[in-house]
Amino acid sequence: MSTFSYNQEALKNLNIGDASLLNHLIDFESAREAHLNKVRGKVDKRISLKEAVAEYVMDGDVLCDTGFSYVRTCHQAFFEMMRQGKKDLQMIGAPNTNQSYMINYGSVTFSHNSYVGAEMRGTDRNYSRQLKNGKVKILSEWSHGGIAQGLKAAQLGAPGLFSKQMLGSDIMNYNPYIKTMQNPMRDDSDPVAFIPALYPDVAFLHVQVADKYGNACIYGPVVNDIALAAATRKVIITAEEIVPEINLRYVKDGAMIPFIYADAVVELPFGAVPGNMPGYYYWSRQWWEKLMRYAAPDEKRFIEFIEEWIMGTKDQFEFVEKLGGAKWIAEARRQTKAAESNNEDIDFRYQEYTTVNKADIYY
C-alpha cells in the first residue's frame, strides 16, 4: 500500500494518532487490484442479503451511504449488518449520516461526515451523544459537494481534482484528505482545494430493477451512486425486482450501473424501507419522527427502539408487517405515485408521531 502525506493540522485537530486508519479510502492501487479481480463474464450473481452481508462486509471496512437521506437508501442492508454484529466500520455519511444507530452497537466506530441528521425531522441527538461519549471518532469532515467530487474523480480514473469548495472554512482544518494549494496554471493567486479520489471498501446500492448479472437501473435521484459504484472495491446491488437482461437494454427512464461493477445481486423487495423508494413506496414519516424526536434524545429509549425495530426483526418483511403490513404498502405506494405526479393528487396531511398520537400504521 502507498504511503500518504495528510493535512497535518487536521490530524492534530481530530486527535488522530494512527493515520494508517485513513489510508484505505484513498489507496488507488488496492482499489484497482480489487476491480481487476472482479468476475468478467456475465454470471448469475444472485445471493441472499444475509449471505451478501456475511461475505462482503468485513469488520473495519470503509462503508459508504447510498441514495439521498431517506430516498433509495439501503436501510435494510444496514439493519442486517447490525444483526450480524459487524464491528468497527468506517461510515461515510454522505449524503447522510442518519444511521447513527450503528454506533450504539459498535458496528460503526469511525465516521466521515458531510451531513448528520434527518433534515426537517431535526438534528441527530443520538449522534451528538455518541460523539461526546467517545463512541464514534470523526476521521474527516466534508461538504456534500466535496465528497461527491472525490467519488467522481475515482470514477473518472483521476487521482483527484481541484475544487473551489470548502476553501477558507473550518472544514479544511478537520479533513486530513484535503489540501489548499495554488492553481498550478495561474500566475496570479488562485487558491484551490485538492480533493483525492475516494475508494470505499463496500457499498450496497439499492435500485428499482436489476438483472441477475448486476446491470442495475436507478429511477429518481442518482446522487453519487454511479460514481460510487465505479469507485468501490466491493459493490452489492440490491433490487426491488430482478428482471430479464433484455428489459434493461435501451432503458431511457433511469440511469444505468454496468454489471461489471457488481460483486453480488440481491433480490430485496422493500430494501429501502423505512425510506422512500421512487416508483415503489413513500417513506414512513411517523417512523422517522418516532426515531428522531422520541427515541434519539434519550439513550434508553433509543436502545429500546432499535431493539424493537432492527434487532427484533429478522428481515424487511417483518419490518413491513410492523409498519402496518399490506395496508401500509398500499398507502405508501399511493403516496409515492402522487408525490411523483403519477396519479391524481392526494392529501399529504397526516398525524405527526407524538407520545399522544401513537401510530398503529406508520404513515
Binding site: N13, L14, N15, F68, Y70, V71, R72, P95, N113, S114, Y115, V116, G117, E119, M120, R121, T123, D124, Y127, S128, L131, K132, E141, W142, S143, H144, G145, G146, A148, Q149, L151, K152, K164, Q165, M166, L167, G168, S169, D170, I171, T180, S189, D190, P191, V192, A193, G220, P221, V222, V223, N224, A227, N276, R285, A339, E340, S341, D345, F348, R349
Partner: protein, 261 residues
C-alpha cells in the same frame, strides 16, 4: 378557507425572502422556508424563475412541500435530474443566480455555522448537521441569502465553526481565500433585512420589520450592527392578497409556515 389572522413571523419571513427573488432567475433552494418563499415568488411577482435542488432535480412540477431535499417533490416530472456533483457544478459555472441557506449561527461577516455549538469538533456541546450542501452553495453561488431567526446566540461576533465562508474577515478576504461569487448579499430574520457594507463587508441594517425599533434588532445581535445613512427604512409588510396565496396555495398544510408550539 379565508384566514384573517395577522401574518406570523414565519409567514413574514417567507414574504421577505420572496422579495429577494427577481423574475427570470435560476434559484437554488433547500427545503424549509426558502422553498415556500420561492414558490410564493413564483406564484406572485416572479412567474419565470427556475428552481434547482441539491438532489439534482430542477424545474419540478409544483406539488406539496418536500420534507427532504431528495423527496419526489424536488424532482417531480423534472426534465432534468442530475448527479449531485454536477448540480453544484452549475453554481460554480455561473448558471445559478441566487441561493438561500439556513444557519445555526451567522456572524458579522456573514460566515455560517451549521456544525455545532462549541468550538471543538471532537467534543462539541451539541453536534448539529454539518455542511450538507451549505458550504458548496456558499463557496460557489453568485448571490447568497441567509435566512433564520435572530437571537444573540444565533448572531454572535464570531461563529463557533465556519461551515461556510461568507465574507470571511471582511474586505477582500473572501476573494483572497479563492472563493467564487459575491458571497452573502442579504441576511433575513424576523426583525429585519440586512446587507453588507461594501468596503468592510460588515453586516448592516437594510430595513426593519414594521414596528421593530433598532434597539430590538441590536439587542438580538452579539455584535454592533451598522446602520444605513438617514432613517432606517421599514420592510414592506406582506400584503393581504399575498398572504392569502401563501396560506391557500403555497403551504396550505402549514408545513413550513406554522409557528412551532
Amino acid at each position: 378557507m379565508k384566514n384573517d389572522t395577522p401574518a406570523n413571523f414565519l409567514e413574514m419571513l417567507a414574504y421577505f425572502i420572496s422579495l429577494q427573488i427577481e423574475d427570470h432567475k435560476f434559484v437554488y433552494v433547500g427545503t424549509g422556508l426558502p422553498m415556500a418563499a420561492a414558490i410564493l415568488a413564483h406564484k406572485t411577482h416572479a412567474p419565470n424563475i427556475t428552481m434547482v435542488y441539491e438532489s439534482g432535480g430542477q424545474d419540478p412540477i409544483e406539488g406539496d412541500m418536500p420534507w427532504s431535499v431528495g423527496d419526489p417533490f424536488t424532482w417531480r416530472k423534472a426534465a432534468v435530474l442530475q448527479e449531485m456533483a454536477y448540480s453544484f457544478g452549475q453554481s460554480a459555472n455561473g448558471y445559478v443566480d441566487i441561493a438561500f441557506l439556513g444557519f445555526a449561527q451567522v456572524d458579522m461577516y456573514g460566515n455560517v455555522n451549521t456544525h455545532q455549538i462549541g468550538k471543538d469538533l471532537t467534543n462539541p456541546k451539541i453536534r448539529l448537521t454539518g455542511s450538507g450542501g451549505n458550504n458548496d452553495l456558499s463557496s460557489l453561488t453568485e448571490n447568497m441569502v441567509l435566512v433564520g431567526l435572530q437571537t444573540p446566540e444565533r448572531f454572535p461576533e464570531r461563529v463557533d465553526f465556519i461551515t461556510s465562508v461568507g465574507h470571511l474577515e471582511g474586505g477582500k478576504s473572501r476573494q483572497e481565500a479563492g472563493l467564487i461569487g459575491r458571497g452573502p448579499i442579504a441576511v433575513i430574520s424576523q426583525w429585519g433585512i440586512y446587507d453588507f457594507e461594501p468596503e468592510t463587508k460588515r453586516m448592516r441594517i437594510k430595513s426593519l420589520t414594521p414596528g421593530i425599533p433598532f434597539e430590538i434588532a441590536q439587542q438580538s445581535t452579539g455584535f454592533e450592527l451598522l446602520k444605513p445613512n438617514g432613517d432606517i427604512p421599514e420592510t414592506p409588510m406582506i400584503p393581504p392578497d399575498v398572504l392569502d396565496i401563501l396560506r391557500m396555495k403555497v403551504d396550505p398544510n402549514g408545513v413550513f409556515t406554522t409557528m412551532p408550539s
